[in-house]
Symmetry: C2
Subunit: 131 residues, 2 copies
């Protein structure tokens, strides 16, 4: 019923940013938080819902437009959406009869960053060479 359940990723990292899954052993507390987000993504229906929300041109999708794509009841779809919301992946807003969902790109950006390998190979040309 609130937005207070959002998982904040990586705020406790050594540099205030990302835990860096591939760069250092992940502390237990960060692993617990991060696992919740990956677990939310670990379901085909939720992945499809997230992709439908994220790829919508207007940036927002009515739940009434999401449900027909699945052979599932609206309560089931709403439950999956709630898990995505609790993981901080989407936000919602009720307007009139319907609830509208949008991507929270900060979370997917963080996951992408966490999964990106550090450029720890020696960088041959860090500033670039004109030609």
């Amino acid at each position: 019923m609130s937005n207070q359940e959002l998982v904040v990723l990586g705020q406790d990292g050594p540099d205030g940013c990302c835990p860096g899954l591939l760069t250092a052993p992940l502390p237990q507390d960060q692993a617990v938080e991060l696992a919740k987000v990956f677990k939310a993504l670990g379901d085909p229906v939720r992945l499809r819902l997230l992709s439908m929300i994220a790829s919508r041109a207007g940036g927002e999708v009515c739940v009434c437009d999401l449900t027909p794509a699945f052979g599932l009841s609206q309560p089931t779809i709403s439950h999956h959406l709630k898990l995505l919301k609790q993981a901080g992946l989407i936000a919602s807003e009720r307007r009139g009869t319907w609830v509208y969902y949008r991507l929270l790109p900060a979370t997917t950006d963080r996951l992408a960053g966490i999964l990106t390998r550090p450029a720890d190979e020696p960088l041959p040309e860090p500033t670039g060479t004109p030609s």
Copy 2:
């Protein structure tokens, strides 16, 4: 007992690459495959194991060096490692008494790519402004 269980992500994508979670509604078959990998990451112990393996300087970790970091039995650790391996996130090799694990960066690279937003917003200052 084999490496044949690797999940191959995104090979069926329209361009032969990544399914693009944020760019288009994800087809059901790709959602099923991708969910397996995220589900493998949806556990704190597996995330810590993956980070320990990925961040090891030599690129390889003996299971005998992983187990002591957890208050868990070696069979339990081996089970978690098996799930990471089945998801295509790590590979293993037995040498003598012990099994050694290493990251398969192609899978984490793909996940990072899938979670990266396309650069479709107009870029205001793509080259930066000196001041």
